[in-house]
Symmetry: C2
Subunit: 320 residues, 2 copies
């Protein structure tokens, strides 16, 4: 089924997934800021490990009112801007519009459900290594699949259909019954690697090559798994197997990749500390699990934020 899709948050993930969907024949409308002029003038170039391509005609808009109602809103906004979402998404909704957030961490579906009702909302995690390049260019560097699920847990024909459409568009997509499980599973990677790579300005591969930080990565993963396993997910995550799988996947695919939070800091943006750290810490604490090292990592990253902001960096292209 051809969908009309609105992409809200045209960073690396939004641009890459939207471009694949347009390439597959869907009508995709991007809400753009930084890349508006470049994409209007020259289209969108995708450098991908699965083959480069170029979209000559891309529908880019500056204001959501210009996009109008769509079948699917794809939300890929950085979570430190999530408070803008109600105003950005509202103009894109018809009676039937579904909203799928691929944002990082926890709390994203809740925010959309509060604004627009839980029935519209799906969430997903992107297992995609991508960075933006110069305006009008996105780099897909590694991996490339997504997993999605209904906010109101359980399976749905809508979710299955979306998964099939994504897969057909070259974004291998699995529909899952327990969205919280995949959210927490992604945190097992995101918390140690986004956190430590940002704090230490080192790649995942460098952290894993050095025994003390490799041990720390494992300790952080173990804490996150403890937090996850206290949430009453459908299935308990086996600690040793999950840690081994995450390490192997990282060493194979993303050793030299710069996690999104590291890129955010290098480029002077805010960090997604609320969704990737603070809300998971709260969920764990509510179930009696103290993720001590995760909490320490948050405090260390947060101090850096204070430092950055005290310096009043002028160049914050992502911020409205």
């Amino acid at each position: 089924m051809i969908m009309k899709i609105g992409v809200v948050g045209s960073g690396a993930i939004g641009l890459y997934v939207g471009a694949r969907l347009q390439q597959a024949g869907h009508e995709v409308r991007f809400l753009l800021r930084r890349d508006y002029e470049a994409i209007r003038d020259s289209g969108l170039r995708v450098h991908s490990v699965r083959g480069d391509f170029h979209l000559d005609l891309v529908q880019g808009f500056r204001r959501p009112e210009e996009i109008g109602p769509v079948d699917l809103v794809l939300v890929a906004l950085k979570t430190f801007d999530s408070h803008f979402l109600p105003d950005l998404v509202r103009p894109l909704l018809s009676q039937q519009t579904a909203i799928l957030t691929l944002q990082n961490g926890l709390g994203n579906e809740e925010l959309l459900a509060d604004a627009f009702g839980p029935g519209r909302v799906l969430g997903g995690v992107a297992i995609i290594g991508a960075n933006r390049g110069e305006p009008g260019v996105v780099h897909h560097l590694a991996l490339g699949s997504i997993r999605i699920g209904e906010f109101a847990a359980g399976r749905s024909p809508r979710c299955e259909r979306l998964a099939a459409d994504f897969s057909a568009a070259g974004i291998p997509c699995e529909a899952v019954a327990d969205l919280r499980a995949i959210r927490w599973e992604k945190l097992i990677w995101n918390i140690p690697f986004n956190g430590l790579c940002t704090l230490l300005n080192a790649t995942p591969g460098a952290l894993l090559a050095h025994p003390p930080t490799r041990a720390l990565v494992i300790e952080l993963m173990t804490e996150v798994i403890s937090g996850a396993n206290a949430q009453g997910l459908a299935e308990l995550i086996p600690v040793a197997e999950m840690v081994a799988a995450q390490l192997a996947k990282t060493e194979k695919h993303t050793a030299d990749y710069r996690p999104s939070m590291m890129v955010d800091r290098i480029e002077g943006r805010a960090l997604e500390l609320e969704s990737i750290f603070r809300i998971p810490l709260q969920h764990a604490a509510r179930r009696g699990v103290a993720m001590v090292r995760v909490g320490m990592l948050l405090a260390l990253l947060d101090q850096g934020e204070q430092g950055e902001r005290g310096g009043q960096k002028p160049d914050r292209p992502e911020h409205r």
Copy 2:
């Protein structure tokens, strides 16, 4: 009693304490590296919160054999160079020579006792905020006292005499019966502030002004006190009172002070991770206390060491 004193390790603490002792009439011989020419040509200038002074004639030497036997060896070498100590100290010893180490952290008296016998060895902690300036200049910025004790615990006339001599020289000095207690007490400050200031390139005052890092400082202090209180010291350290006292003292005296480890990193030297972090962690673990956040801080600092030395850090932001 006028002593002949050999200073081994002429950094900020060695130069400042040695200068005060010479000012008070003792014969002080400094083993110098960086400052040798400057001090030979122009003497030693001390900028001190207790009054500036200048020593025109300073006995500086490049090799310990040129110093010869002394009454007291004052060891203030950075602990990452401690493996040089047996060769540096041996030429300074007569039958009666005492050795007092004011080095940071744990393990310092043990190394000297292994090399020269436990009977010669005293240890102490310097509560002195001092940095080196240009060659031939030392800055005494805050506080200024020391506490010393016998390595073989207990009181001794020798230790009491030394304390009186230091005090008379303008270095208020207390002789204590339990050297391990003052070593651990200093770690309560050194571990959080040397560690976090170095990792985050922030002053103690900046860390205490920001609630998440203030909380982390308190958590780290609490872990160190737990480690200390498991060692069978003469008296248990009361957690709340000690933390409050450390915070108040820091805010009053050393909020803007750069801890020695932070200066070491800024100036490209190695860090005193073994004596300030690794050995205390081992002592705590041996008594069944896991100082989790202290261990994490060590791993993070150690990675920075690797990064500096191994060139594992990505050198430039990614701009394509």
